[in-house]
Symmetry: D2
Subunit: 356 residues, 4 copies
């Protein structure tokens, strides 16, 4: 049995344990955000602050850049790593950055919290055999035309070296379609997660190669159960030294996080913004209450059919206690109770009307 298959049954709790510090397995998606390339201290620190404020859980930024042409910007190298460490010190965000060669592993591991193996190196087997030895989590991007089997086999090279902290990242595959840079393959990302038991995140920036698709693809990825996203964010995308067309600016990233319901309330900058958010939440709560009422009426019908009484105090008690137990910092158990008493009162009357 392969190592990857052996991991399949592992629980989310184990994931959480393995990736301490990255919030993986916490039930909340991991959001890795930052510029394609580290360009200057000002740029990377500004980006780190902005993505942290908008709810990102890790910072990305390339110091060693794999570029198709030798004439393209190749990254700042070790200086870039140093600047990433500065940005981490400023924000507390763990740093994810790429390592391109066995000779760079020690250096990159000195600065980074997660070592990324890029798409073009997914089958750089010498690198796969050694990258895990630094003892840090490894983010393994899927190759541009790698099959599921090959991707999992590449992960096994790392796992076999004794490091089980592997995060998989789907970033689009190569197809005949030219309206997007690559084609996001959610299906294989889902299967990779089921098959391996490893966390799988999605990179819509590289998959689409165009800003306008990042929001819908991010929504799709999280809805499909992916463990997180990797998003390119730059203070001024049009002036970026690489991947200009696909990077978001700070405001766009903030809006994306709001749409994903991951923007912290602290990032709402005006009373109006708060009220918009509250109005949006109220509409969604109302939707759910409508569905709740329909289900409650259905209970009423079924009870009447079975000759059972409407009020079942035990059930109501248990229900409220359970919810009160789930309430966290933002809402005391007593407050939960107060709100649900109103909800249950309305619901009970609806059932009684049926029996009348």
């Amino acid at each position: 049995m392969s190592v990857v298959e052996g991991l399949t049954a592992e629980t989310k709790r184990t994931v959480a344990g393995r990736f301490a510090g990255l919030r993986l397995g916490s039930g909340r998606p991991m959001i890795i955000a930052g510029p394609c390339s580290v360009e200057s201290e000002e740029q990377i620190v500004a980006a780190a602050r902005a993505v942290k404020a908008a709810g990102a859980t890790a910072l990305r930024g390339g110091a060693f850049k794999p570029r198709t042409s030798p004439r393209s910007f190749q990254g700042l190298g070790e200086e870039g790593l140093r600047l990433l460490a500065v940005a981490r010190a400023e924000t507390g965000l763990p740093v994810v950055t790429e390592v391109m060669d066995t000779a760079q592993i020690d250096l990159v591991a000195e600065y980074a919290d997660v070592l990324q193996v890029g798409s073009r190196n997914m089958q750089n087997f010498a690198l796969l055999k050694q990258v895990g030895r630094a003892g840090k989590p490894v983010l393994l991007k899927r190759g541009l035309s790698a099959t599921l089997e090959e991707w999992l086999a590449a992960a096994e090279y790392i796992l076999e070296s004794g490091n089980d902290q592997v995060i998989l990242c789907e970033r689009g595959i190569r197809t005949f379609e030219t309206s997007t840079r690559n084609t996001l393959d959610l299906s294989t990302a889902i299967l990779a997660r089921t098959r391996s038991g490893l966390p799988v995140i999605v990179d819509p920036s590289h998959a689409a190669g165009r800003r306008d698709l990042i929001e819908p693809l991010s929504l799709a990825a999280l809805a499909a159960g992916m463990d997180g996203l990797m998003i390119e964010v730059h203070p001024d995308p049009d002036r970026a030294l690489s991947d200009a067309a696909q990077q978001l600016n700070f405001e766009q990233f903030s809006r994306l996080m709001a749409r994903l319901e991951l923007l912290p309330a602290s990032a709402l900058e005006s009373i109006d913004a708060c009220r918009e958010e509250i109005d949006r939440l109220d509409e969604r709560i109302l939707d759910l209450l409508l569905r709740r009422m329909a289900a409650a009426r259905r209970v009423g019908q079924l009870k009447r059919g079975a000759g059972l009484p409407v009020l079942q105090e035990d059930r109501e008690h248990a229900l409220i206690n359970r919810l009160a137990g789930l309430a966290g910092d933002e809402l005391a158990g007593e407050e939960v109770r107060e709100i649900w008493q109103a909800i249950l009162a309305v619901s009970r009357r609806a059932q009684q009307a049926l029996h009348a």
Copy 2:
């Protein structure tokens, strides 16, 4: 300017108008469900009833089947069309079925509510030129290796014939990956919708070719804003005459609709099932209330910073009135008011605590 581009600016209301009877543009996704092939009256009527009960909005079923090999089941032909009409009479569901040749258009249009042009015929230009003339909506599936441009150009053939009731359907493209039958290309589906202004639905059954991916891909498609889904459902998939591996049975379809929050309360068959649903809804309502409290506290902070009072009765009134206006059959305006008074009371106390 091409016809397709001209449609881009059209509003959802127009879509709704054009597709009267299909609930498109209603804000609720169109769910087309049913077996791959019509096999018998018993089979198609049972399937129609089951998918209707679970919330489907249209019935699919193939009478003329495009099969790779001449040795495979080719469909019941006109008899299949007649059986689809029987199923429609039983359930009221509009019928979607494929037309494969110009010579069949009149016959199929006699029985069907929506004429489907299959992937393999996406560039059967003779068919495209004539299929719209029946005056019924046309569902145009994307070809297995069609680019976005080609798909939209195929739609134009139909639009040019004077029929603007075109629904696009993404059903997976051909790539090197072999763990799925095809690769669902959500990115292009999203762009097709933006570019054309036409409704776009997704067929995860053909895209994945395997049952276990239908739920996550359906969640993803709707999260990405697609207008609906086409799902293969069969009373006994293992005995289906075509596409056995990818069809859902009735229970699986019902579970899918529950996960999509599209299952009507009437489909909950026991008090226990209702309670599970209520518990699930309560948890999600609680999540949203926690986010609502965080936003309310943030309002409190900002008000304090600006020296404004906590209580702003106007705002509370307006808020409650707006929600009461949105309440529908399931919840009277008065009941909405009752619940939100509880919510606002809790929220107000939290803000006051900040000011204390």
Copy 3:
């Protein structure tokens, strides 16, 4: 066992019998040449004459054109068919043209010698079921993303209708590569031929979509054993109503045929052109004579090792008689004898030198 597999063992003689009039199975490749679209009588007659003079064995030309966009030139329709018949009358070349819909079969069959089913209709099963019934050979192009299995299964639809005169045509598949219009897949063309026993030709014009690749790809296809080529040739490619970038003009086609060693001597228009051709042939004959001498010397070595005499008159007689039997219209048996006596004399001396 499928029909296609059943044909695998058929001999070339059977192919020749089945496709009477098309020179298939004659050992000489079938060359179908002509414009993408029939545009006028002048254009198609000029093209027919030019390709005939350069050695083409059939004329192509589209009357019904499958065009991606409804705004592109759609072909002259029946008028185009009539013009093709005029060109045939002028040149004697059999005519190959596309049929796009079941409703056109009778009309096209009235004018054409070979009915073409285009890539986009490779899985138009209604068409496949009926196109063979006209009793004329059918040229079935591979779909842009059809697998070998699907292509052969499509051929079976035609074979099953009782018509065994099916010619397969590989015309490039869709891949991620953008420097060519499609990617010529010679490997699958070769396998299609072995698997089906049907003749397989190659269309480098559509595969490459660019003039500069037509010659090397044609050379490659014939070297790989393909049964023929389909080449787009237009009097004035830059003014063509379709596929301008990939059509050859008459002179380019003539040069191509020369490179393929298929240009008739009658097409050499000056003494200089003839001499160039003779010089080229002489160089190749010399190359082969050098190899022949090396093999003859090797015989000498082996004979010496085995103690056998150099001269074996029986062998020389038999050899010359066999070649004299193969000589055709261009060289009498006596002349063959005269030339080979010179060759054998030189060869014998070389062997004797070894024994000296």
Copy 4:
């Protein structure tokens, strides 16, 4: 202007100069043959001797193997390199072997004559930047889904490091077709050669992944003008530790070389084999003579039209002298003269017959 574009105009002579010892640019294709992996001294020496005898110009064999799974045979490493050097000492064949990591460059360069960068490392930019520094020719395989542009850009990384001895190798790309391991893309190989001015060879073993396609694809590649082939040959393919299905045994390789007209006469092992070869050559010489006669008759026609005499002694002299000058070791100038006098005599009589 990029380095690659700058090379476009270079002549074959320059190629020959750059790749001294590899016979590139000699007008004769480079044939690199040998096992997928070096497995033992016995195996690699046997393979080297067999491929040398059959006309190969270089020996391949993997010491460091890029394998999809960590559980597959990973190669003998340095021991494999040592064995390759033994095989070179035995046969004089230059050795081509893969280097997978920057840390291995010096070691591999110590033993190998050509350093191979494999498909999976085509965008291992750290390796590309350093592999050229060893001063040995570099064979750069195209990535499994690399575009032409990316392949040439990868070559530029090597050229930019100051090493212009780069050989490109097309080895099949990834498509949806499953009947072959990959899809040989001759079109892009041809364009790569034209665009870069670098020699391009083809690897049909990896492209097809099946023995039966190696011969037709090799014929096609050379007919299309490629500079050479890389072929996997193993003493006992069924027992090979890697790539069993695609390796040829010695006899199959020998037959392949015969079909390519590259088998030396010294490899013909019996008088019968020599005679088969001679018969085959005679048939081809006869074919060419028939074409020569047709051209000569055409000269006769044109001369008659222009009122010129048949015999033009100057032309005949010049022709024979030119060919006598091209004759090499195998045929003396005098012998060439003797044979062509016979050919010209026959030809002259044919022309005279026209004038009679």
